[in-house]
């Protein structure tokens, strides 16, 4: 698929938002309409198609704090001047949502969020991490039972101990044990002809592991992008330690999505025979044509909507990730007392 077709295919990705979500992000706007121009006119920020006068949308300047633009959208210098005056930030993403860079004015509101984030250590960090790991284990159990594999009772115990973990070390060992049990059961979720001995990385030893690794990094990119959209630093984590070049906060937030989005997607590709062993090369990577098939499947999977278990309305998986970034930001800044992970009870 040529780049341009992929861009069109991803076109709907960021379009969907409902009025009911207004409570979340009044001050953040998203511009994904291709070939459009963002301008400052009077007290408004307007979006118009290139070379046309008709205004697609206009927003009150004083209320906008962040403008996220995706793909070929031009932001005029008048907007950047206003950004300087009002402390607005502009984040640039590719059409797919991969982060490219930001325009951060000298006077900005990012510092406030970042100060909270950098100060989020000790008990505050532990509280958030517990919720994330508890959510991950709950989602592992849910995935197994959806696949009619009775989850071990130990997983339930571990989910509870995650909630009461005394320190990060204890939490990590709970997480490790739970992952071990979960991956051991995951093999039973696969159709015949596929095996999953154990979870391996760098390099993945078999096709299913390769598929999981690929999916984790695809979703990780979405998580990084979501964190950037809310001006969080993806490299400073609450649980994962920050090592050079490791997006620790994104890895933290990825945890709850691993079983329910990533593993579920890989299982679907295998079990519905979308991908077979023939799709893989000698080195366990996907063949070029198969990778394209994977990408388009992935994109529609992320666009698929479900009823949000907490907010009770339809959202796409992609949107759900962004919503978790918002909730995480609220927990980090103390606007909300606890972090609410995305948890599916069944």
């Amino acid at each position: 698929m040529p780049e341009s077709d992929r861009a069109i295919e991803g076109a709907e990705a960021f379009r969907v938002v409902r009025a009911s979500e207004g409570m979340f992000d009044d001050d953040v706007i998203y511009v994904s309409a291709q070939k459009s121009r963002v301008r400052a006119e009077g007290g408004r920020i307007t979006v118009t198609p290139w070379g046309e006068k008709e205004v697609l949308a206009s927003f009150p300047m004083e209320k906008v704090r962040t403008i996220n633009v995706f793909g070929s959208v031009s932001v005029s210098s008048s907007v950047l001047t206003k950004c300087q005056e009002n402390g607005m930030a502009v984040n640039y993403f590719t059409y797919y949502g991969r982060y490219e860079g930001s325009f951060v004015p000298v006077h900005n509101t990012i510092a406030g969020v970042r100060r909270h984030q950098y100060g989020c250590t000790g008990n505050r960090a532990l509280r958030i991490a517990r919720a994330m790991i508890g959510g991950k284990i709950r989602n592992s159990r849910t995935l197994l039972s959806r696949k009619h594999v009775p989850p071990s009772a130990r997983l339930k115990e571990l989910e509870q101990s995650a909630g009461g973990a005394k320190n990060m070390g204890a939490l990590r060992s709970v997480e490790g044990e739970a992952a071990g049990i979960y991956f051991a059961s995951l093999n039973e979720c696969l159709i015949e002809g596929w095996t999953f001995e154990k979870r391996t990385r760098r390099p993945p030893e078999d096709h299913i592991n390769a598929l999981l690794s690929l999916t984790y990094s695809m979703v990780l990119n979405e998580v990084i992008s979501a964190l950037r959209q809310y001006n969080l630093d993806p490299f400073l984590g609450v649980m994962h330690t920050d090592r050079h070049g490791r997006p620790a906060l994104a890895l933290d937030l990825l945890e709850e999505f691993r079983p329910i989005f990533c593993d579920a997607f890989a299982l679907r590709l295998v079990n519905q025979r979308v991908l077979t062993h023939d799709d893989f090369k000698e080195d366990n990577h996907l063949k070029d044509a198969s990778f394209k098939k994977y990408l388009s499947q992935y994109d529609s999977y992320m666009k698929e909507e479900f009823r949000h278990p907490h907010f009770k309305y339809q959202v796409s998986r992609r949107r759900a990730i962004i919503m978790q970034a918002i909730l995480l930001r609220k927990a980090i800044t103390g606007e909300m007392k606890v972090y609410h992970p995305l948890v599916f009870m069944r």
Binding site: G42, G43, P60, K63
Partner: protein
């Protein structure tokens, strides 16, 4: 969250009136209405009032009414209804 305000003005000079209009639309005033209705936080309200105070002249009048929750529930639209919310995605 914030407060709902209704703003009316009586300003003779076009130039000053335009400036006040620019300030109001920056805080979310609905366009093409002869009366402005907007929803702002307390901080935004203070900023907005200060900005307006700076541009108006001695004989101009700007009046701001605050709507309480009970008043908001009792608003009646005749003809086309006012836009209640704005999608933040284009």
């Amino acid at each position: 969250m914030g407060v709902r305000l209704v703003v009316t003005y009586d300003i003779s000079k076009d130039k000053v009136r335009n400036r006040v209009f620019r300030i109001l639309e920056g805080y979310g005033a609905w366009k093409q209405y002869s009366i402005f209705e907007l929803e702002v936080t307390d901080v935004q309200r203070v900023q907005m009032e200060e900005k307006i105070r700076c541009v108006i002249e001695p004989h101009d009048r700007v009046r701001i009414y605050e709507l309480c929750a009970r008043c908001i529930g009792k608003i009646t639209d005749l003809g086309e209804r006012s836009p209640e919310s704005l999608s933040n995605v284009v």
